[in-house]
């Protein structure tokens, strides 16, 4: 069973249906027990880094993620759900005295604004695939759908795949039980569904 972590508003329906195309049972839940016990946990996310962290903190989502990883249970972060896995995010703090927001911190490093005149980075882009990537196996040359203005730019994890918009950023990270995609596989057509299938196949 796959659990999609519900920690606020947004379009979780697409994610639910996309993961269900694999034939797995999928639940959208904020119940910590269900989220902890599921074969795979998806951390989705739309909106700003800090409001996502508020939603995560309200259901103690950081503990769920950490506990799962300790028990060697897979977690997949998507878009802002990837970004909040990092230690810090600068979204909304760049032009002030404020220090960056804290994330869940299971990946080291900071999520920072892309240096490019037109944001968000919105649309289909390609990925420079790490040969070790399991998630991108068989779909190395495909495009995926991105919507974001911030990204992680330093390598973390065992396998790193990169994309370029203005500058190079982490597109997919895979580190044992913890994986994350900056793009939206649930919105990336057949390529996205193939990635979801790869992840579920690894559970």
């Amino acid at each position: 069973m796959i659990a999609i972590l519900d920690y606020g508003s947004g379009n979780l329906r697409s994610a639910e249906r996309a993961f269900a195309t694999s034939g797995q049972d999928v639940v959208v839940t904020s119940n910590p027990v269900v989220a902890l016990e599921a074969d795979g946990l998806v951390v989705p996310g739309v909106g700003a880094f800090s409001s996502c962290m508020d939603g995560i903190n309200a259901i103690d989502g950081a503990s769920i993620v950490r506990e799962r990883l300790k028990k060697e249970r897979p977690v997949l972060g998507i878009c802002i759900g990837m970004q909040i896995l990092f230690a810090h995010g600068t979204e909304g703090t760049e032009n002030s005295e404020k220090s960056p927001h804290e994330g869940i911190g299971v990946f080291e490093g900071i999520v920072d604004r892309l240096q490019v005149p037109i944001l968000p980075h919105m649309g289909w882009n390609t990925v420079e695939t790490d040969p070790q990537s399991l998630l991108l196996k068989g779909i190395e040359d495909q495009s995926f759908y991105f919507v974001h203005s911030y990204a992680a730019k330093s390598p973390v994890g065992k396998a790193q795949s990169w994309s370029v918009y203005g500058e190079k950023f982490l597109s997919v990270v895979e580190d044992e039980y913890l994986s994350a995609t900056q793009f939206h596989p649930e919105k990336s057509g057949t390529a996205g569904l193939a990635l979801i299938k790869n992840w579920i196949g690894s559970l």
């Binding site: 379009n11 329906r13 968000p120 919105m122 649309g123 289909w124 919507v147």
Partner: protein, 257 residues
């Protein structure tokens, strides 16, 4: 490696049906928006847009149902516009399975709505639809309302600048002069708006020949929206992409199944 341009078919729906005539022989029900959306998805549309022109609240409920059904089977981004007046309207659409909403008249009436939606859901969900035409305003372009029938008196470029500051994630620029003519996009208008818009720009209105799509991209559009040329089968989405690819514009290739 680069970001592809986007081709976006737009479907006008009312009370659960596609309004403008659709000329596809391989559809069981050419008026069914879900089936149309699914077909366009298979043909390589990079996103889909539904414009809800229902006048009644029951029509809007039907649209929510269409969004639900579409989100269950079409896994590309879906934008829904028409009749959105509040944060709660946006919430309903996102929960039904829309990825983005487009607002127009309600933002002109109350610009704070832009900031309210962006604060709650993030800028990326919000497309500002600007129905503009050539007029004697400061920039030479003005914003219209009611589908281009009424003047708002607002300068189009100033409005785009303000909307970017308030937090829109994207601009959908509809030329009311070019709309329906199939004589090409309003290139001057796209160029002018590109200068001031700090967010992605979708050009709409006037698509006819294949070279029209390329001209709009040259003027600075990031994405191209069209309705009738696709619905009437003048061009298939694949034709547009093949043409653009041949002329060295980055497109997403799709294996048609």
């Amino acid at each position: 490696m680069s970001l592809s341009i986007r081709i976006i078919p737009c479907l006008d729906v009312t009370d659960g049906r596609v309004v403008k005539g659709v000329n596809f022989t391989n559809l069981v029900d050419a008026g069914d928006p879900v089936e149309m959306a699914s077909l366009y998805g298979r043909e390589g549309a990079d996103e889909l847009t539904f414009l809800d022109i229902s006048a009644s609240s029951s029509g809007r409920e039907t649209t929510l149902e269409i969004v639900r059904k579409t989100a269950e089977q079409v896994f590309i981004p879906l934008t829904v516009g028409g009749g959105i007046r509040s944060v709660s309207d946006v919430d309903k659409l996102l929960r039904a399975g829309a990825d983005k909403v487009s607002i127009n008249t309600s933002a002109i009436a109350r610009p704070e709505l832009i900031a309210e939606i962006a604060d709650r859901f993030g800028s990326q969900v919000l497309v500002l639809s600007v129905d503009a035409r050539r007029a004697r305003t400061e920039s030479g372009f003005e914003v219209t309302t009611h589908g281009g029938r009424e003047s708002s008196g607002i300068d189009a470029l100033k409005w785009v600048e303000k909307a970017c500051q308030l937090g829109v994630g994207e601009i959908l620029l509809n030329s009311m002069d070019a709309d329906g003519t199939r004589a090409g996009y309003d290139i001057g208008m796209i160029t002018a708006v590109r200068e001031v818009a700090k967010v992605p720009l979708i050009a709409s209105g006037g698509a006819g020949a294949l070279s029209d799509f390329a001209a709009a991209l040259d003027a600075g559009a990031d994405a191209l929206l069209a309705a009738s040329v696709f619905h009437f089968g003048t061009h298939r989405i694949g034709d547009v992409k093949t043409y653009l690819n041949k002329h060295n514009y980055p497109v997403r290739s799709v294996v048609v199944t």
